[in-house]
């Protein structure tokens, strides 16, 4: 019974997209952490990418709406911080969707090393690796602004974290 409810809740919640990167669902992003069913009450656990991510309250609202549409009322959305989100939580499908959308996906692993060392981010438009960082802080907390030297196009890079 509760396993069935959890599966329905997961299906509904996992379809919610990030309001700032609408090609990614919160499941692709790894923002959707868990769904717990206890005494018939559904609790959805989400985690922020960055502490101050302003999209969190909107995501919480959309999760509640998606669940209500699926006939699950009275669900709670809870924010959890541990384990901390890193770009490793981003699924392979999510990385591919980002690239297709024109955002370079984060480099795998490496966190701190990648933060200070040389990086060669592939341009999501033409694939060239002759690229440069224009600004480390971009249009949202999770992105930096880069430019491709080969095709000249600027692009967003989803920061490794």
């Amino acid at each position: 019974m509760s396993g069935d409810l959890r599966a329905r809740a997961w299906q509904a919640a996992s379809g919610v997209v990030d309001p700032e990167i609408p090609v990614l669902t919160i499941a692709d992003l790894g923002v959707l952490r868990d769904i717990v069913v206890a005494d018939g009450t559904v609790t959805v656990r989400i985690t922020p990418t960055y502490s101050g991510c302003p999209a969190m309250s909107m995501i919480a609202l959309e999760v509640e709406t998606a669940l209500a549409k699926a006939g699950i009322v009275g669900a709670r959305v809870e924010t959890v911080l541990a384990p901390a989100w890193t770009t490793d939580w981003l699924s392979e499908a999510g990385r591919e969707k980002l690239r297709a959308y024109g955002i370079a996906p984060p480099e795998n692993a490496a966190g701190r090393r990648a933060l200070f060392g040389e990086r060669h981010i592939a341009c999501p438009h033409c694939g060239a690796t002759d690229t440069r960082e224009i600004a480390p802080f971009g249009s949202t907390s999770c992105k930096a602004l880069w430019q491709c030297r080969a095709c000249g196009e600027p692009f967003d890079y989803f920061k490794c974290h």
């Binding site: 502490s51 911080l81 802080f137």
Partner: protein, 259 residues
């Protein structure tokens, strides 16, 4: 102001959470004051991003303080309904923005500390604090790296940018000692493995700054110079009152106002 301030029961843990939350909130408010005035659009974005990260950290810490105080206060009450003497932040973070050199150097001093601090706090026996630390550590690493790049550029730039960075350092240095201090309340938490002793970060902080200053062609002031203190116990510079007046006027004048 129409609304009276709340009274907070400052147990050691509540006090600790408020101190760290206040650091993040006040610095974030200072950074937000650059919006619309930044030297370039990219730097405004950087300040906006730093500010957002810090507000996120402050919210998590205020929410935790509210949960352990269990007196019905929430994050907004802590932010909007305490007077300057109830704020527990470092004097460093409330210092006015000054010019770009002052803002960047203040960011460098704080983030070089915060980065080490939160990384060390990830081993806290308090699961909530360890989780907040794990998030904050990743963010302060970015803040430090950005501030360090700018301080190197300013120190190693023109004669004017070099001179201004030296002046900024003279002005801010006396506020750096407070980061490494703790009192009886914090020592109690430290012995219980809940928090770390910030004094242990003094040497690594100085070594790290030394690298940045060397690359910037700047001289790191002596650690033995006289240091200001008082923020942690609510004795602030006059600047905090002005900052709070601006930050709190709306919720104080229109209690319960919503957008």
């Amino acid at each position: 102001m129409a609304t009276t301030s709340i009274r907070v029961a400052e147990t050691p843990l509540v006090l600790y959470a408020l101190r760290r939350a206040d650091d993040a909130l006040i610095l974030s408010h200072r950074l937000s004051q650059w919006i619309g005035r930044g030297p370039t659009l990219e730097e405004e974005m950087a300040f906006g991003n730093f500010g957002l990260d810090l507000i996120g950290q402050a919210r998590a810490l205020y929410a935790y303080a509210a949960a352990i105080e269990a007196a019905g206060h929430d994050e907004d009450d802590f932010a909007y309904l305490r007077d300057a003497s109830q704020y527990r932040n470092l004097l460093l973070v409330e210092q006015p923005n000054g010019d770009f050199a002052v803002t960047m150097l203040r960011q460098l001093f704080y983030s070089a500390f915060a980065d080490f601090y939160w990384r060390a706090m990830m081993t806290s026996r308090d699961a909530t604090l360890a989780a907040i630390a794990a998030k904050s550590e990743k963010e302060s690493a970015y803040h430090f790296s950005h501030a360090a790049e700018w301080v190197i550029r300013l120190g190693d730039g023109t004669a004017e940018s070099h001179a201004r960075t030296e002046t900024a350092c003279e002005a801010l240095w006396p506020f750096t000692g407070e980061m490494f201090e703790s009192d009886a309340a914090e020592r109690e938490l430290c012995e219980a493995g809940v928090i770390i002793d910030p004094a242990s970060l003094r040497a690594p902080w100085r070594a790290r700054l030394g690298e940045v200053f060397a690359a910037a062609g700047l001289a790191l002031p002596s650690p033995d110079r006289w240091m200001q203190r008082g923020g942690r116990s609510g004795r602030h510079s006059e600047h905090l009152g002005h900052l709070l007046a601006e930050m709190q006027i709306l919720p104080r004048s229109f209690p319960g106002a919503e957008w």
